[in-house]
């Protein structure tokens, strides 16, 4: 069993490295780049500039460029806003870190609230228990309704 798992993991690693080493996929790139005119991803855009960008991507793939080289070339022409995902460095890093920070802050807030609610709902102490005389009266009243 363990050997099978190791073989499967190895195959996955090899598949991953093979796809990373292969030529970039035009469809993948089109979903990761934004049309500067209509501001949707290239795969969803029919704007003339998007058509030109798609042609550029195919030509650069055929010329042997890597995914990063193609993205860099398009950023040099249209600026960083052409990337659907912000870069994981510099100012773009904020776009990745802020949602994470908000998630952590939200989790902390929920934990604090849950803790304070659970304290409030703690069972009442003896001082707040029903008076035995009152309890007896209530039992008597309830007994009247029993068949």
């Amino acid at each position: 069993m363990r050997r099978a798992l190791v073989v499967a993991a190895g195959a996955l690693v090899l598949c991953g490295s093979a796809s990373a080493a292969g030529p970039p996929n035009a469809a993948d790139l089109e979903s990761e780049l934004v049309c500067p005119v209509c501001e949707t991803t290239l795969d969803q855009s029919t704007a003339p500039v998007a058509q030109k960008m798609k042609t550029f991507i195919r030509v650069r793939i055929a010329a042997g460029d890597t995914e990063q080289e193609i993205k860099d070339a398009l950023v040099a022409e249209f600026g960083p806003a052409v990337l659907a995902k912000p870069p994981k460095g510099g100012f773009g890093l904020l776009a990745w870190l802020l949602p994470l920070a908000a998630l952590i802050a939200g989790a902390i807030a929920v934990a604090v609230l849950l803790r304070s609610w659970s304290r409030r709902r703690a069972p009442p102490d003896d001082a707040q228990a029903l008076d035995p005389e009152l309890e007896r009266l209530v039992d008597e009243e309830l007994a009247r309704f029993d068949p």
């Binding site: 500067p36 005119v37 003339p48 500039v49 040099a76 249209f78 600026g79 806003a81 052409v82 304070s116």
Partner: protein
């Protein structure tokens, strides 16, 4: 202690909402591009937003405010824009006819490949200065709604007239000629 934490959390939340409100107000107040054409139409002559952009017709950059003292016809175009192709020869003629009188035609190529823009310039034999704004960062300040658009600025860099869409109809061309005369005056 818990009450204090609650107060701090409430303070932070109110502060964040206030910050977002200030950001929204600032954006709305400073984004006056959309009003530029309307203000020009009312005869107000708003100041054209300045820019410094890379030149495509030669090395270096061009700053709009460096043209102060001359009237400017600023045409925003792109090589993929079909009406821009019809308009280009008219703009070249306007440049040739008025350059000695103090008019500078500036072509602002935006959201385009440099190589395609250079091909366009060569194909239509454009000889006026061409600047390049690939990301289109300049366009917001002018309130651009599409391609092409043309702005006529007087010698102080104030907008005399704005034309949304191509200036291809004879009526529009007559309006543009009149705006050029007004800017040169």
């Amino acid at each position: 202690m818990a009450r204090r934490a609650k107060l701090v959390a409430q303070g932070v939340a109110v502060g964040l909402v206030a910050l977002l409100f200030i950001l929204l107000s600032w954006t709305l107040l400073t984004e006056e591009g959309g009003n530029l054409a309307a203000a020009a139409a009312r005869g107000e002559r708003p100041q054209a937003p300045d820019f410094t952009l890379e030149r495509l017709d030669r090395e270096g950059q061009l700053t709009l405010s460096s043209l102060e003292g001359k009237a400017v016809l600023l045409n925003v175009w792109a090589s993929w824009c079909i009406p821009c192709k019809e308009e280009a020869p008219f703009l070249e003629r306007a440049w040739q006819q008025n350059r000695k009188r103090g008019l500078v035609v500036v072509g602002l190529d935006a959201k385009d490949f440099r190589r395609d823009a250079r091909r366009f310039v060569k194909r239509f034999g454009l000889t006026f200065p061409i600047v390049y704004d690939g990301p289109g960062d300049t366009l917001g300040g002018y309130g651009l709604t599409g391609f092409p658009e043309t702005f006529v600025l007087d010698r102080q860099g104030k907008v005399v007239a704005a034309f949304a869409g191509a200036v291809n109809a004879e009526e529009e061309r007559a309006r543009l000629r009149a705006a050029i005369e007004q800017a040169l005056a």
